[in-house]
Symmetry: C2
Subunit: 345 residues, 2 copies
């Protein structure tokens, strides 16, 4: 795996071309995914059936020729294993039902043993690794403590994160207890994925950009740093830290110890690279809506991103957030091809 | 009006203390607002009844002692006057029903005559001005062309602005025609508010932060610049440009010709001030969730913002986005008092 462009770019080593993968590359925009999705009763069942999760993990590798596979799962799976009831209703986001009012509610949460309650994830990792036969690296992942906390506290997605921030501000003891337990969970969960064979790890802190820099430093950064440190102590697998809307947090994110920091399209890649100052490679940053441009315009945009990315310690091409269900798979294929062609050294 | 702290801070002149107002200060968190709201059949009816809109505009001035009133209305009111069906369903966001497919759909939109189809707004402005008796300035406002376009094209709020961006990318001619017509509308609408007595103007480009800097420059900036320029040619009323999530757009927003640029809590005020380089005063930037802190912590945060704001050309204290319906009015009152006390020169 050490010689593949994705792993090399994570480490800031020379690569023959810019590697690319896409968040949610195994997903609803692919007809072959929809076919398997329709054969099960719900989204969570698909996550929990290793034979099927393996199949959909491999689909974009086969169809698009991306440079990395990413485990098919959901960021909330470890939260369910902690004892938080989780439901995906058709056409809606996730619904969680675990009101947090006092320290007792935190004490009742389990730090799961991934080898029992999350074994379906590990089994998927093992099967995918076998199928990939060391030709393409596999990325394991987890939601980050802050983003997981926000889902638990809001009961789902949110526009303003009022319940999350209110707990932070009014009940910091409970907040820190929750974050501590989530961090323990994320650490054992990611360690188990590495043991099962994951070649790289991504921590999804998708909603961390809702915080002011001061709040990030006080309420979140110590936990992010601990996750990276504990993983770094057991594995050389590159570690990617991802968030959206993080322009003003980038200076802090660059110092978390991760190998790669992901950014979205709101910041020009060249500006993000200046902030990282060689402390980490960069991942990003095409707007997922960019796949709805004409091929000519998309190619132009890819050229700009690839050129800017050459100034980074290492650059992994990706979207700034997950690929949208409305995307034409042909455009996704065209993107992969364009990135490879336009970045050839 | 020229001597009041709000207007002086907009112009970068000396002030005895930092002026403050709050977005949505006339709104659901106030019991006296809810009482009036319950007496009408819908939110739009309240906007369209000058006697009641006047009352709710004045409520926060009376209860909180803010340094400016802002017209009670909705940013989508001019869009309805253009011929776009608009509905507010209880407990949901706005729903608009005007599919845009071709140039013909743009041609069918009217540039409204504000003195006929939007006279209820102008009448509210006149009544509020009379009631305020030049003791407190009144801010008029409009949605900005981009944010209004996004509501029309998405049919309401959006998480990814896919329809908006797809039109931009795939059909730029139709996009520019739509933006041109929206700009014409915003210009005549704001001019009429000034004629009716508004002392300052705010352009709400609430969702512009969803764009990459390159897309902002190509598809939006010329229209924003034209709105400011056309208003500046007829009035000395200070012009405030507001958006959220605009850290990477600030350099461009600073050059639009506005007197004041608003920012949200994602950026430290001191960093935003550095980017503005004295080209505009600054407005912001407490997280609306900050009103859920303890009074002691809130005071600490206010002190930091006020101190950072002293480095600006001028500073108007505000929230980074609208005050939340769950807010305790006592905390809003405490915020106003704290800003005044902690900023005394």
């Amino acid at each position: 795996m050490d010689s593949c462009p994705f792993i090399r770019a994570c480490r800031g080593e020379d690569v023959p071309y810019t590697p690319i993968w896409m968040m949610r590359q195994a997903g609803r925009y692919l007809p072959e995914y929809m076919e398997i999705r329709r054969s099960v009763s719900g989204f969570l069942e698909l996550c929990k059936t290793p034979a099927l999760a393996t199949k959909v993990t491999l689909q974009p590798v086969e169809r698009l020729g991306v440079d990395a596979a990413i485990l098919f799962s959901d960021i909330l799976v470890p939260v369910e294993a902690m004892g938080v009831p989780l439901e995906f209703r058709e056409g809606e986001g996730p619904k969680l039902n675990y009101p947090v009012e006092s320290m007792k509610d935190i004490e009742s949460l389990k730090v799961p043993n991934p080898y029992t309650s999350l074994d379906f994830v590990l089994e998927t990792v093992r099967r995918v690794k076998e199928a990939l036969d060391d030709q393409v690296p596999l990325i394991g992942f987890s939601g980050a403590p802050f983003t997981l906390a926000s889902y638990i506290l809001e009961g789902g997605g949110s526009r303003n994160y009022l319940k999350t921030k209110t707990l932070m501000y009014r009940n910091p003891e409970v907040w820190h207890a929750l974050m501590g337990k989530l961090t323990d969970t994320v650490v054992v969960y990611l360690k188990a994925q590495v043991e099962a064979g994951a070649d790289a790890l991504q921590l999804f802190d998708s909603w961390v950009g809702a915080l002011s820099p001061a709040d990030f430093r006080r309420y979140v950064a110590p936990y992010t740093r601990r996750v990276v440190k504990e993983l770094k102590s057991v594995t050389k697998a590159p570690f990617i830290l991802f968030g959206t809307d993080t322009t003003t947090l980038l200076e802090d994110l660059a110092s978390m110890g991760a190998d790669v920091v992901g950014v979205d399209w709101r910041i020009e890649l060249r500006d993000a690279i200046k902030i990282l100052k060689g402390r980490a490679s960069i991942q990003g940053n095409l707007d997922p809506c960019g796949l709805f441009m004409t091929k000519k315009d998309l190619e132009e945009r890819v050229r700009e991103i690839v050129e800017q990315g050459r100034e980074a310690r290492g650059h992994i091409f990706n979207l700034g957030h997950g690929i949208l269900p409305q995307t034409d798979p042909e455009m996704a294929r065209f993107l992969v091809k364009s990135v490879h062609e336009l970045s050839k050294r």
